[in-house]
Amino acid sequence: MDLTELQEIAEAERQAQKSIRVHCCTSTGCQAANSLGVKKNLEGAVKAADLGDRVQVVGVGCMGFCGRGPLVEIDPQDKLYEEVTPDDAASIIESLNGGTATANEGDLNHPFFARQMRIVRETSGKIDPERIEEYIAAGGYQSLYKVIHDMTPAEVVDQISKSGLRGRGGGGYPTGLKWATMAKMPGEQKYVICNADEGDPGAFMDRSVLESDPHRVLEGMAIAGYAVGATQAFIYVRAEYPLAIDRLQKAIKQAKRLSLLGSQIFGSPFDFKVDIRIGAGAFVCGEETALIASVEGGRGLPRPRPPYPAQSGLWGCPTLINNVETFANIAVIIREGAEWYANIGTEKSKGTKVFALTGKIRNNGLIEVPMGITLREIVEEMGGGVPDGEVKAVQTGGPSGGCIPASLLDTPVDYDSLVTIGSMMGSGGMVVMDETTSMIEVAQFYMEFCRGETCGKCIPCRVGTVQMYQALTKILKGEATMRDIEQLEQLCGMVKDTSLCGLGQTAPNPVMSTLRYFRDEYLVLLQDSPNGKVAVKS
């Protein structure tokens, strides 16, 4: 395979594509709402109307507006239909001949779509994730060719560093620095791991990327492998994502068939093999050292760092771990250049971030926005606000994050601003809450999650989360006193400071942020404060 052949595949694919493409979402969310039935009827209607020569029904990945699925989009007419039923299919096809479609028409100019900037999701919802040809026709694998033939590994690392990309798993560690460390590590055997163990309640960005455009992730991983000197990679994906696993398997097979993965990629000496490892669905396995232990076949327990995986990871070898979304950015950075990427976002948070916008909000779904956009723009403009009433808080970052009160909605969304107000980016879950939500119940929900997901290795996390959950339950039952609040705060500090891994270190965040911003809710429930008016030092 060389560049000409790659371009030939792209050209042949473009030629073969019909002038009208009816995109039908086949991601998990829409499938659950019977999008496969819609797709089948659409195909039947095309056949019945004898439009096969110019209309093509394509099963595509996620278009983002998951709350209104199944979605059908007509390309190039830019028409979007929402909540489509199989019965609507015939009328949608008829509308191509001037008829009227019975399905609800969506507004592609709505801020939900218009305010987005799509880098990671640029082809998501536009191509068939199960066909490598469509990805290649969209420019896929050209970045990989470019790095292998025109760039040295050091130049690739340099580009990623200059782009300012930071780890999208939530911590925000500079990706270029991680790659540079890895590239400088001695050793014949190095590994690349893609962390697809997304487990935050309310988050489904990584699943969507894998289901909608698996090749983008594979290409990013291969570029990483070339840059850091690794020849073997693993994608660690949780078993709860069967469709993502299935599409990844297909994608790896197709890429191998075209020699875009495997040995001597693009006729160069660069070999890169990717295997899938399926995780049993433990939240802690998203932590890199626990993930490595799990890939090795052991119990998914974290270990103290240092040594960091870049020094000693999988089987003691240097290992690069990045999240799905991080890898999905790579090919675009190489294609468009580091400077282009660095111009997007804020000074310290470059590029875009995908969020799963859910909760009490009109427009549920996946959005990709440039960093620095305010929470208010996301929630009120794009999300359309709360259906009845006002926004009370926004929870970002899942169990590791915190609840941001409505008064801070003008905070820009970037790594550092969110940490300053007691939350974090996390992997990108964003749950909107309205006035009917009890913030203590929210804190209790996340603590219940952490209590069940702590691995049990270190004492502060194993016992502390249980004690915090019990304290919150006691408060909710109205049996607590001021002493319990003080003890809860003490527990939060201790668990945060002394836990072994990120799970325990961040588990108190939802409690701490609700205590900080919604303290009154706690106080009115206390036994010794019937009026809720207790002088408290905050």
Partner: protein
């Protein structure tokens, strides 16, 4: 081999590169409490009792797995650390059913020692009183899950020194428990050589020899270190 110099609680110490802070502290004559650490087996950094403060690092680091580096200024007994250590021990007492008065190692127990050391006379956390079993299926030994603190010393000793790997941890979080074999009764585990190293390694009365009455049982916790030294350095004296 190079040597690093550092200060631990103001005491200057010179120690070979690669040594842990715990070893360095020992050399400096500074005592750091531990529970999951046992000389002779690998460290896991799980009990968090040996956390120390290092100037210039805003995280607390476990002394048992943190390597010394040049010019480190380590504090092992600050007010915060004292408070956190006490909370760790309180948490352990609230988690299991630790009734010293009816325990075979009363007076010889490292959890008890730790409690005394950190000044714990009661726990401010509510007791959970979990329902836990006792396994006395083995001819010579017994396992009382009520007293187990999941330090995994037994797991490591059996795996790394005896090579039998009888022990493991099953379950997650608060449901974690030590299991023998594939969660079989200990007496039915064919891999067990009945060597008793796990019993000696156990810091509490969780693993015990049958026939010992309360306060009679003494454990030989130096045995593992002795065996490792004997094997590696061929020194057969204690």
């Amino acid at each position: 081999m190079s040597v690093k110099t550092l200060t631990i609680d103001g005491v200057d110490v010179a120690i070979e590169e690669g040594a842990t802070l715990l070893t360095a502290a020992k050399e400096a004559g500074v005592h750091i409490p531990t529970l999951c650490h046992l000389e002779g087996v690998t460290d896991v950094g799980a009990c968090r009792l040996c956390l120390v403060e290092i100037e210039g690092i805003n995280k607390l680091l476990p002394a048992c797995v943190t390597e010394v580096s040049e010019g480190m200024k380590v504090h092992t007994n600050t007010e915060t650390l004292q408070e956190y250590r006490r909370m760790v021990v309180e948490m352990l007492f609230s988690e299991g059913n630790h009734i010293c008065a009816v325990c075979v190692v009363n007076g010889n127990c490292q959890l008890q020692d730790a409690a005394i050391e950190v000044g714990m006379d009661h726990t401010r956390f509510p007791y959970r009183f979990p329902q836990r079993d006792v396994d006395v299926s083995h001819d010579r030994f017994g396992l009382d899950h009520n007293r187990c603190i999941l330090c995994t010393r037994c797991v490591r000793v059996c795996d790394e020194i005896e090579g039998a790997h009888v022990w493991d941890v099953a379950g997650r979080g608060p449901a974690s428990r030590i299991i023998s074999g594939l969660a079989q009764p200990w007496g039915e585990v064919e891999a067990c050589t009945s060597c008793g190293k796990c019993v000696d390694a156990c810091p509490t009365g969780s693993l015990f020899r049958k026939g010992s009455t309360v306060a009679e049982m003494e454990k030989d916790r130096g045995k593992v270190e002795f065996l490792v030294t004997a094997r590696e350095e061929h020194k057969w004296t204690r």
